[in-house]
C-alpha cells in the first residue's frame, strides 16, 4: 500500500535505530516527549522503545483528545442527551469515556439517551436534516485535526439555515497544551516530537516559540519509520545544540499548513479565555468557542449548559499520565480495576491513550522460550 507499508519496513527501521544508537553520546540522556496519542499508539504497536538505545526515553504527551477532556465536559454531554432530549452525535472514541458516577455516553445511551456514533460531521448534519422535529447536537472534540470538519459543518449549517443543529464545542489547541507541559517544569525534556496531522492544518511555525526557548521540535508522521527518523533528527539537534523546528513529514505537510482550513476555523470560531484540561488544569487561550456570527449554533448557550469542574476519580493517575510524569503501569488502578472494557480513567479508553496503548501492546513481554519457538 503506497505511503503506508513502505514506512513500516522493519529492516530499514533497525538500520535507523542503529544510527540513533551510534549517534547517542555517552553520559547524555535524551528524553523526548511524543506529544500525540497517535504517536504513542505507533510506538507501542511496533515496539519501538525496545529497538532504541537505553539513553533514549520516550515520554507520552497529552495529545489524545479524549484523555484531556475533563469529567465536567462528559457530564455536560450526558446531560444534553438525558435531560434535554437531543440527538447527541459524537465520534466513537467518546462513547466509553467515564464521566461522574461511573456513567459514560455508552451507558447513557443504554439508559435511553439518543446518542449516535458518527464518523464525520457530515453525518451529524444529515441526521439534523432528517430529523426536523429534534434538536441535534454534535459533541465536537479534538485538536486542530478535527477542528476544520467542525468549522465546515458550521458553515454548511448556516448556509442551509438549519435551525435544529448545534455544536458542543470542545476543540483544543496543541501549542497551548505543549506550552503548559513544557512550562510545568515537572519533567526534564530534551526534545518534542510534534504531531504531523496537526501541522497539516496549522503548519510548523507555531512551534518556533519552543525552539526559540531552546527546545528542539521535530514534526513527524505516524508510521514507525517516521517516528524513528524524527528521533534521529532530535538526537542530532541535541548533540549539535541546535534547537529548531524541523519537518520530518515532508511527504504530507507543507510548512504553512492548510490555509483554507485555517480560514474556516478563523471564520467560525474564537479563542476561549480559558478551558479546563484533564491533567493540565485550567489553561488560558487553549481552546475554541463558536464565533459570535455563529452563536446561534452554540449548544452551550442554546441549552444553558452550566460548566462544573468535577475531580478525577480517586487514585486515577490520568492527570500524571497525560503529562508524562507517570507511566501507565505506575498507576495503582492500571490493569486491576481499570481496563479497556471497564475504564476508570480516560487514558484507558482511546487507542491513543497511553494506558490503552500499553494495555494492548506493551503489557506482555515474550519469554525467551517463546522467542526460540518463533525462530
Amino acid at each position: 500500500m503506497k505511503f503506508a507499508s513502505e514506512f513500516r519496513d522493519g529492516g530499514l527501521a533497525r538500520r535507523i535505530a542503529t544510527a540513533i544508537a551510534v549517534e547517542c553520546q555517552p553520559g547524555r540522556s535524551y528524553s523526548f516527549m511524543e506529544f500525540c496519542g497517535g504517536h504513542t499508539h505507533t510506538i507501542a504497536r511496533y515496539g519501538l522503545e525496545a529497538m532504541l538505545p537505553a539513553a533514549i526515553r520516550l515520554v507520552h504527551g497529552p495529545g489524545c483528545p479524549v484523555c484531556v477532556l475533563p469529567v465536567g465536559r462528559i457530564d455536560s454531554g450526558i446531560e444534553l442527551a438525558r435531560d434535554h432530549g437531543v440527538i447527541l452525535c459524537t465520534y466513537g472514541d467518546m462513547m466509553r469515556v467515564p464521566g461522574s458516577h461511573r456513567l459514560s455516553l455508552l451507558k447513557a445511551k443504554a439508559a435511553g439517551g439518543d446518542i449516535r456514533m458518527v464518523w464525520s460531521t457530515l453525518d451529524a448534519l444529515k441526521i439534523a436534516r432528517d430529523n426536523h422535529d429534534r434538536e441535534v447536537v454534535f459533541f465536537a472534540i479534538g485538536f486542530e485535526t478535527t477542528t476544520p470538519p467542525t468549522a465546515m459543518a458550521l458553515k454548511m449549517a448556516k448556509a442551509e439555515g438549519l435551525t435544529n443543529f448545534s455544536i458542543f464545542c470542545n476543540h483544543v489547541l496543541t501549542p497551548s497544551a505543549m506550552r503548559a507541559v513544557l512550562q510545568g517544569g515537572s519533567l526534564p525534556l530534551e526534545g518534542v516530537i510534534g504531531p504531523g496531522h496537526v501541522s497539516a492544518v496549522i503548519g510548523i511555525d507555531p512551534y518556533r516559540e519552543f525552539s526559540d526557548r531552546g527546545m528542539p521540535v521535530v514534526v513527524a508522521g505516524f508510521e514507525p519509520l517516521d517516528l524513528l527518523q524524527a528521533i534521529l533528527m532530535l538526537v542530532r539537534q541535541v548533540n549539535e545544540d541546535r534547537p529548531s523546528v524541523e519537518n520530518a513529514y515532508v511527504r504530507a505537510l507543507p510548512a504553512t499548513g492548510n490555509e483554507r482550513a485555517q480560514q474556516a476555523i478563523a471564520e467560525t470560531m474564537k479563542m476561549r479565555d480559558s478551558f479546563e484540561w484533564r491533567g493540565l488544569g485550567t489553561l488560558p487561550d487553549s481552546a475554541l468557542r463558536l464565533a459570535d456570527d455563529y452563536a446561534e449554533f452554540d449548544a452551550e448557550a442554546r441549552f444553558s449548559l452550566p460548566y462544573r469542574t468535577i475531580p478525577d476519580p480517586k487514585s486515577c493517575a490520568c492527570a500524571e499520565v497525560v503529562r508524562g510524569i507517570k507511566r501507565p503501569q505506575e498507576c495503582p488502578l492500571f490493569g486491576r480495576s481499570c481496563t479497556p472494557d471497564n475504564p476508570i480513567g480516560s487514558c484507558m479508553v482511546s487507542s491513543e491513550g497511553g494506558c490503552a496503548a500499553h494495555w494492548l501492546y506493551g503489557r506482555h513481554q515474550m519469554t525467551n522460550d517463546g522467542r526460540k519457538n518463533v525462530v
Binding site: 466509553r96 517463546g370 518463533v374
Partner: protein, 353 residues
C-alpha cells in the same frame, strides 16, 4: 415448485401483494393473514416433505450418528449487503457452526421476528435467498415460526436459525484437542464480511467493490475430514475476527498461539479500508472462513486439499500453537517484532451478523 403452486384460492382469494404490500400486525396474529404468509411465501420457498406435513414440529428419521445442534440469532444491518443478505447469512452462519464439529448439517429451523412495515417484497427476497442458500448447503428448513412486532420495536427483520447435524462416531474435533506445535491453517482472506458491511452503513458509506465472504463451508470441511480425520479443531472466525477466535481457543486449549502477520491473506481493498478507518483487519468479522488446527506433519497436505475446494482456494498455514501458561496469542509482525493480539473492544461495529 413456485410460490403460486401453494396458493389455496379457496382459503385466500386475494394473493399477497408482493409489490407494494407490507408486513402488518395481522401477519403474526395467528389468523388467516399469518396462514397466508406461511402458505404463499415460506412453504413455497422452503418446500420439503417435513415442512409440508404442516405440523408445529418436524419429525425426521434417525441420522445414524451423534446429533450436533447449534443456534444463532441474526440482526445484521443493513439487511441487504454486498455479497449476501440476512437470509443467506442466517443459513451460512448456522450451517457453519454445525459443520465446525465435523458433522454433516441436515436440518434448520427458522424463526422470523418481523417489524410492522417491512415491505413484503424485501421479505420475499430474503426468504428466497434463504431457500437458495439452504439448497446450496444441502440442508432442509423443516420448521419455523413468524412473529410480528410493532413498528419501532425491531429493525425490519431478525432471524434465528437452529441447525441439526449428524456426526460420525470416530470424529472428535474440538478446542480442547489442540496440542502444542499444531499448525494453524486459515482458509482464505480475512475481514471481507465486516468491511463489506461497514461500507454500506448509513453513516459510513464508502465506495468499494468488497463483498461479504458469507458462504457455507460444509463441503470444504467434508473434503478436509476425508483427507485427515484427525483434524484437532475447526472454528469459524466470525464476530471479533481472527483475534477473538484465537484468544477463545487459547483459553479453551490452555495453550498460546503465534501467528505470522505476513502469512495472513488480506485483500488490498480490505487492507486499505481498515487503514482509513483505523481498525485492525485481524479483529474484523468473517462469515465464510475457517481456521483449522492439525499436526504439523499433516498441515501441508491438508492445505493442498483445501485449495482444491470452493471457499478454500487461498488456504494457508499462518502459525502454530505453543505451550504458554499465560495463554497469549502472539503476532509475529511484518515489521519484525512480536506483539500480543488481544480481544478488541467491539462496540464500534455492532450488528454485523
Amino acid at each position: 415448485m413456485n410460490a403460486n403452486a401453494h396458493r389455496n384460492r379457496h382459503l385466500f382469494p386475494r394473493p399477497l401483494d408482493m409489490v407494494d404490500g407490507r408486513v402488518d400486525l395481522t401477519h403474526g396474529g395467528g389468523g388467516r393473514a399469518m396462514a397466508q404468509l406461511i402458505s404463499e411465501l415460506f412453504a413455497g420457498a422452503f418446500d420439503n416433505p417435513y415442512l409440508a406435513q404442516g405440523n408445529d414440529m418436524a419429525v425426521m428419521p434417525p441420522t445414524g450418528g451423534r446429533l450436533v445442534m447449534s443456534t444463532d440469532g441474526y440482526v445484521v444491518s443493513p439487511i441487504f449487503f454486498p455479497g449476501g443478505d440476512i437470509g443467506s447469512l442466517a443459513v451460512h452462519g448456522t450451517v457453519n457452526d454445525v459443520a465446525m464439529s465435523g458433522a454433516r448439517p441436515l436440518y434448520l429451523s427458522a424463526s422470523f421476528i418481523l417489524e410492522e412495515g417491512l415491505p413484503l417484497a424485501d421479505l420475499k427476497q430474503i426468504v428466497e435467498s434463504m431457500a437458495t442458500a439452504a439448497k446450496q448447503a444441502d440442508v432442509l428448513i423443516v420448521t419455523g415460526d413468524t412473529k410480528v412486532v410493532e413498528r419501532g420495536k425491531a429493525d425490519g427483520i431478525f432471524i434465528v436459525t437452529t441447525g441439526v447435524g449428524s456426526l460420525q462416531d470416530e470424529l472428535h474435533i474440538a478446542g480442547d484437542r489442540i496440542r502444542p506445535g499444531d499448525a494453524i491453517i486459515l482458509s482464505g482472506t480475512i475481514g471481507d464480511h465486516g468491511i463489506a458491511l461497514l461500507s454500506k452503513r448509513e453513516n459510513l458509506e464508502f465506495e468499494t467493490t468488497i463483498e461479504s465472504d458469507s458462504a457455507p463451508l460444509h463441503g470444504l470441511i467434508r473434503a478436509m475430514i476425508e483427507a485427515d480425520p484427525d483434524i484437532h479443531c475447526l472454528r469459524d472466525p466470525t464476530r471479533g475476527g481472527l483475534a477473538a477466535t484465537l484468544n477463545e481457543l487459547a483459553h479453551q486449549s490452555g495453550l498460546g498461539m503465534i501467528v505470522d502477520e505476513d502469512a495472513v491473506p488480506i485483500k488490498p481493498a480490505v487492507r486499505g479500508a481498515c487503514e482509513l478507518l483505523g481498525i485492525d483487519p485481524i479483529g474484523v468479522a468473517n462469515e465464510g472462513k475457517l481456521i483449522a488446527f492439525c499436526s504439523p506433519d499433516k498441515a501441508e497436505a491438508l492445505v493442498a486439499v483445501m485449495r482444491r475446494q470452493p471457499f478454500g482456494e487461498n488456504a494457508v498455514i499462518i502459525g502454530h500453537a505453543q505451550p504458554d501458561p499465560r495463554r497469549l496469542v502472539w503476532l509475529k509482525t511484518s515489521f519484525g517484532g512480536e506483539r500480543v493480539i488481544e480481544w478488541f473492544n467491539g462496540e464500534q461495529l455492532p450488528r454485523i451478523c
